[in-house]
Symmetry: D2
Subunit: 315 residues, 4 copies
């Protein structure tokens, strides 16, 4: 039996790689997938998850849940088709779903069913997760831990000079989650930007034949990253490494610090995540702190990712 | 059959007066009450609604629902026991409820059951309501109309010089609701501050004996208002007049205008509601506008309120 | 001998009307004019003052001083040629000045020369004035009083729904001035928007022949106001009535209150001036308060303005 | 003949070390010192400069100028006596000056006198300098270059997690200067925090006897830094290395980038300086860029500082 995971994401390429890992790993049991707005619209991300559910043969008990449609900022979300493709899964056309799915509140049953053994992995915007801390704060105490892909600590962002996309898109939601959630591990760009899957890795995984859609989506993804930065060696799999973190704790080096989120609208700093690393600062005992992955062991990542995705033991 | 109303409130004195009106009126059927944090904590407001359910003999089908526990600002809510009493109902000790009630998502069933004929009256903070516009935007299109107690347009606020308590406590939620909701009527302090129930009115209602707790709670309320402003003639029943609005449309004078909410933190202006009344401004056709009650007919209010609460016809 | 006045303005139509009043009044002696950026650029406002100096036969001792070129917000100022004409004086082409004039610091001599009897009337942006409170705070204590055209208290603004142009253009400067200045009287839109000079008044003044350029500039001005609001009866002379205030104190009804300036960028509320008028609020003794003209006597204004500009006694 | 330098500072320990360097160096001619509020009040910093003028035997032509008394934020400045001592010069009691000195506008003459060969070194808050860009923008084009001590780029701040003291104290002024100034070099904490003068260096300088007050002030300074961070090896001479920069360009490694200043009030991020270092970003040609010292050669610094302060050649 693997770790029960409720996965929040926006069902883009990144998320699909993470779900591929889960599909092929014995250590992770996905018990539900929440599809939020994000890289593409919610109506599309739900369709994407339905498509992925077929590809990865989700057991019947796995719930597909519609999450937030818009951020707490009151803005229309901005989509990035140039990064993730028109439908969010690179070259794949996942079809569209039939009608609107609004069933977010089914999440309550999942959390109750798996209480105290459930981990929430949040790979996309934090809007949906934040609503639960406003409405179901007692219930949320039954979640064992939270792994959040987001932020950038003392390294460049990917939307502005200092801000990462998930935190930038809804900093209000990030502030709510970081105010109320316990047992949080943040997997920021410090780590995820360097969790590169190279074309060689993709080709070998494809050759082994276990990971059904990894090649078309990561080829597409790499093409985007390469066009932006010709010297990049592979595609960063932000969401996959965040999912891996909940079962591969030793892969990372952490610091546990208070986290400040910049809310200032319309600027470079919006969504910036700040952790005070001054050695002479003493934090208040009461001050809320979160575990942040500042670094990781790439070789550990490489071996584990390849082992799981090929079925061959890499050592 | 009366108008089906789903009532969001913080179960303070104000809300109790509104529910008294609903209890005694044939024109309103309360189908559910959402208890949010607000003047007191959520755990207390739920207990208060449970107490009021007994007092007002709620039919078995009427749902009591726990709403938001905290605002979207990430702050701890500030309570005002000096205005509403320790428990929120003036001198009344409503007891406490047994255990946590977190059942917000049952609201989906209510909206579906009464779709297209349901009015939501929001008398407290807007946090709970705002989450629905993030998560269930299609569902919310099935609500016939929204009546919101909040804001102050070109008149003083009650928390700062310009800001009303509901809008000030969670301006982020207000912005979300006003961005997405359709068929909104705002009942601001312009009206509610002047919807005064005098001690004479209270005594007469009490003498007629139909309104069970109106005297102790409004006596308490008046004592507070009188101590702050010795020349005040009665207690403003903010929430009751907002509820009345959904069945007494003619009582008010409206203007339909775009509404801007100030978010700036920590200042006088936070939560201010601004409507542009310059006669020479032409709004964009596309710009979202809301109906705002700028004025009302006090005599209409007096007659209707007294008629319903005493069972005697005032003309 | 009249009241010594140092006049800060942006040398638009408004300012020219004010300077016409000063020219024809025995009660005011202009001792210097500071030309700031504002309705038009600083280089143009200096040229305009030089032109007006000839028209109004400024005595040789009257200094023309270049003020601020840009606001403290770091923005490029926005100009409004549709209101004030290409050069700022309606149809008049005042020529351009020869070379840059940067001599702001001569203002120190003026303040020292007339110390304790000098009034500063600020009819434009507050940027220049604000710098003096940062650099010459002791010197500024020698100014007898300040009259500031700006703000809008519980009445609509003229740039946004709630913000007046001078305060909106540089709210940072307004905050500095209101923090440090003593003996301030604010003449806001509450008054100035109703200080209307009708075409009939203009024609009669013109017929009497004492006010050299009043007809072309006020005809131009009225044309603008009329096109925006066909029912308007005349042109509001914001700056003239502010100048008049320093010698016609009895024309106004004042309230003395703390003033809060909204700084929030890029929004409707930016530059809003807020005064708390709630009757039950008790201000801290220490809190800085300013005298604000909430109302005025139009007939007083009419008689005084016409008497001075025609040389005929209006009673 | 050395480089003509007009020095803006707050006349604390740091500034005194910088002026010691200037006093003993043939490469720098201080032509004026502007004393702003900063670590201590302006009245004290002026007294300190007067004291230092005697210690360093300022030639009669060197002007002492009073700068800004308060920041553009409208706040009372916060002083840090624990860092710089009660009077700002550690254990030294410099006396007080006689009366108020408000003569900032004499700076105009200095800039005109030395036009096109003058460098402004700004070692303190940027308030005074910013006013010149509002009032004397043409004049400021005659300054050859600006060297500014401030900011922290991708390294911790010294007031908050991310903000340096000069930028944090008046971010409004920083934004003005960086918007309008040309030929700016920023010397941030990246460099200055590592420009350490050790007790051994101090003792040797003292033993050589040329630098009159270096030992008492740097011993005091080191005591503060040591108490905060026991492992620190010396005192960072932020202002001295900024002054040195204008004659020792080769000591540093620069990057030329647009700089964004965070204005958000009351938070960790206020005053943060952000430069986008993402390799794949292409800046607009028109975008204003500044030269930022990201790194320096400590040995170069050591040799130069010791050579100048001891009169002995260090190689």
């Amino acid at each position: 039996m693997g770790q029960k995971v409720l996965f929040f994401g926006d069902a883009g390429i990144d998320d699909a790689v993470a779900l591929t890992y889960a599909y092929l790993s014995d250590d992770i049991d996905i018990v539900g997938v929440v599809a939020d707005y994000g890289n593409v619209s919610r109506v599309q991300t739900i369709a994407n998850v339905q498509y992925l559910a077929k590809v990865f043969k989700f057991p019947s008990g796995v719930r597909i849940i519609g999450g937030a449609e818009n951020p707490m900022t009151g803005e229309q979300p901005i989509f990035y088709p140039e990064v993730h493709g028109v439908y969010g899964l690179g070259p794949i056309e996942p079809g569209t779903n039939a009608g609107v799915i609004e069933n977010f509140f089914e999440i309550v049953k999942i959390i109750e069913e798996y209480q105290n053994e459930l981990i929430i992995v949040n790979a996309g915007r934090l809007t949906s997760l934040a609503t639960l801390f406003l409405l179901y704060q007692s219930l949320m105490k039954k979640v064992k831990a939270f792994y959040i892909m987001g932020g950038a600590f003392w390294v460049p962002g990917n939307v502005t000079a200092v801000s990462e996309a998930n935190f930038h898109a809804d900093p209000i939601a990030v502030r709510i989650v970081l105010t109320y959630a316990k047992n949080v591990t943040i997997i920021p760009l410090n780590v995820t930007d360097r969790a590169l899957v190279t074309p060689e890795m993709v080709n070998y995984i494809d050759y082994k034949g276990k990971a059904p859609i990894i090649k078309p989506i990561l080829d597409f993804y790499y093409h985007f990253y390469k066009s932006r930065n010709p010297s990049i060696l592979g595609s960063p799999v932000h969401d996959a490494i965040t999912l891996m973190a909940c079962v591969r704790e030793d892969m990372f080096t952490y610091r546990t610090l208070p986290v400040h989120i910049v809310l200032e609208d319309g600027t470079t700093a919006r969504g910036q995540s700040i952790a005070d690393i001054r050695t002479y600062i003493k934090f208040d005992e009461q001050e809320k702190k979160h575990r942040i992955a500042f670094d990781f062991d790439y070789n550990f990542f490489f071996r584990d990712f390849m082992t799981v995705l090929t079925g061959e033991t890499f050592t």
